[in-house]
Symmetry: D2
Subunit: 249 residues, 4 copies
């Protein structure tokens, strides 16, 4: 349906600009690292960055209309995201645009809006080893991903993660301190598909890893729309409309 | 945990006050009919009405704190419900209060908030026969409910109903014109339980039926909280907290 | 992963050989009609028939090993299917082969084996109109399928259909007599994907319809394996195996 | 519906009779430990043991007919369980009897039958700490259960656990070596409810713990039938049967 795949990677881009140690880890920004990595796996994809400081946060109506899958990374500046932009993104997701929410994006306004829950969780930042296990072998998002995928050091996220029970549970992580976390979750909402993937704290070079690029590339392919974008609408048609061509939709 | 069960039935109470033909059908209001019917099946329950025109729509913090299960009926006045009250109800649901959303309540602000989708659907009002089939025999909500439950005349709701895939699909309705509708749906959100049940248009005497009372009474029992009310919170505790009593929660 | 797609259409092929009126409806057999129709939509696919009367019912180990997706149509001769062949098919499905079970195949030994339930349902054969509604717009199986898909005359299947709650509910049918039926269901089992689709009684020319071919072609694409075929195995490896290459799998 | 609750605890009872070190750990058998513990929490329940060496493995038709919830512990002697008894138990579960499958019971014939998958998993027995986390706060099975529930030493079970995606994921365990396991799973099958709970290896005194008793008692209450026992049956009734009392079921 959509060839080539058009991916927009949104990043609040605050840590990288304000903290030299993060800038050193991500000299092209987290968005740049994601684009560099995923582009190698999806050479035909059209990948673009959008960031908070741009006009309309880089998410104009025109940009979203031409985006098949939107990646979302945010952390410190969730509240700086304009409500009208959140509305706009939600409309596009419900109309069929794919959305991949990353790490601390669990607390983004767009994710909370689409989930309807607090999206709260446990966390501590002690550089634990995170081991990401697949519980859905054969799922398109796990193809080519090592099982387990081992992150030698990462921030710890732990349950209870207050999200709706997912349509599909894809990954579960354990941390060396003993916590577990549902780290890969799929949701269908409206005509859109949402994937949440928890690895990716700004303090660790997660987005430079080939195995993580593989998950993100798979997620983009999985989340892309299969049909014309259209927001579900209330419909009032007369009895028998579906059998009478003169009154059919 | 909560004995006796405390149920608050919220109704916008507009049709009954403004349209004589509806007032004739529901002289005690839709809320009154629900309370009269469910009370017979749950004689120990404490049942109270709350309506839009009351201060805080009858949904003060104190009222919600003492409500185990909230029923919600609204139609014409969804936009008249104050956003702060919607926030308050959402917090209570995520903290464990049960919520039973009825019929046109699919477009209520509280339901859209908790679902994250448009909650749109097809409709037409032609007095079709609605036949409500159970697809979850043995589920507590279906116990004692005729299968099928036949409503000789009702408004037609049809798919696509834009809600998240439910945790459990309990009822599916057909209409004599050919439409189908997922008419009984359960959701867990936060610590709370939500049941959506579509029968109940104001133009038909649905809420005077014993079989409908049975569904509503079952839903109340099913949705009631099992644990202390508590909003899921972000938590940051040191490594190993769960093994060291001195730092445990 | 598998190009071109290799589809085997299994049919018990009893009605067509024993009943002239069915032979007239399906001169090439139900399997022939399915192959003729789907092949037009998937011109690159390699499509083969297999039938009950062939050695090993046409389902040798070699055939299954080279089958990406197996369609299954059976009705009168479920008990004539050899248990060893049922075992073999089950192993291939759990190892990743796709399976599309059609109509009265709900009572096939392979479907009951994989579901674990009785797979019983209501039925009556009165030539009702069946209206197949999508409840998963945007799902790959619904792309290009009319919503609703109307079958002017068909056998009636009704709830309660005793199958596990599906991973995804794709279609719901209504019948002019009032019954409803969950007519399109997806399941993941092992590494395999299963789709059950209820239209297709031998007395009606369902498999000559282009809209039905579209559903079947979509289902084949959806069900095809994404990874190397492998039966899930019990695994006993030493502590830390996933971090020590010398002991890794 | 069923008062008092009638629980039958089935145990193959082989380790306890053949290995003195297990007999020392479980002088009353694993079944005895479970009964002793759960009875304290459900003083009104009628609890009975049944074991492999009894006639019909202690699972006569009469016994099952009077059992609301059956617990199942097996490990070394799965193949010694008679196929006819497995059939009988399956029929009762699909008819509404609750089933709680414990630990190595994942490889029991009854569990494989009802799941339809291989039910294989990873394992190693190194005395790791197992930490059992709730991912369904408010679920009846988690009420009063510490979160996390910590088992200082236990056998390790790890993913991929080849079972159908559960209706509800209740618990996830981590092990000190890094593995994760979906350790508490619910399934509806036919009219019955099934709960799988992984803790409980014979080499560890798991079933002497009060927190484990709490899980088991909750599971029994959750799994008990709500309706008359009845196996789902194929049904063939004339058009309109549900509106004509003379032909209704």
């Amino acid at each position: 349906m959509t060839e080539p795949l058009r991916i927009t990677v949104w990043n609040e881009n605050v840590h990288e600009r304000e903290q030299p140690e993060i800038a050193e880890l991500y000299p092209d920004g987290i968005h740049g690292a994601i684009i560099n990595g995923v582009q190698q796996l999806l050479p035909d994809a059209s990948m673009t960055a959008a960031t908070l400081e741009q006009p309309e946060h880089g998410l104009s109506e025109a940009t979203l209309a031409e985006t098949d899958v939107l990646f979302w990374w945010g952390h410190r500046a969730h509240d700086a995201v304009d409500g009208a932009i959140v509305d706009r993104v939600a409309q596009h997701v419900l109309s069929g645009m794919g959305l991949v929410v990353l790490h601390s994006g669990h607390f983004s306004r767009i994710f909370i809006r689409l989930m309807g829950t607090t999206c709260s969780l446990r966390w501590r930042n002690d550089g634990d080893r995170e081991t990401v296990w697949s519980v859905a072998p054969g799922h398109p998002i796990t193809v080519g991903v090592p099982d387990p995928l081992v992150l030698p050091e990462h921030e710890t996220y732990g349950e209870f993660f207050d999200v709706p029970p997912p349509d599909e549970l894809v990954f579960i992580s354990s941390f060396s301190g003993g916590e577990v976390f549902r780290s890969g979750l799929t949701y269908r909402r409206g005509l859109g598909r949402i994937f949440y993937f928890s690895p990716g704290d700004q303090n660790y070079p997660i987005y430079h890893r080939a195995d993580i690029h593989r998950v993100l590339a798979n997620a983009a392919e999985w989340a892309k729309p299969r049909v014309e974008r259209a927001l579900p609408q209330v419909s009032n048609r007369p009895r028998g409309w579906f059998q009478d061509e003169s009154i059919a939709e």
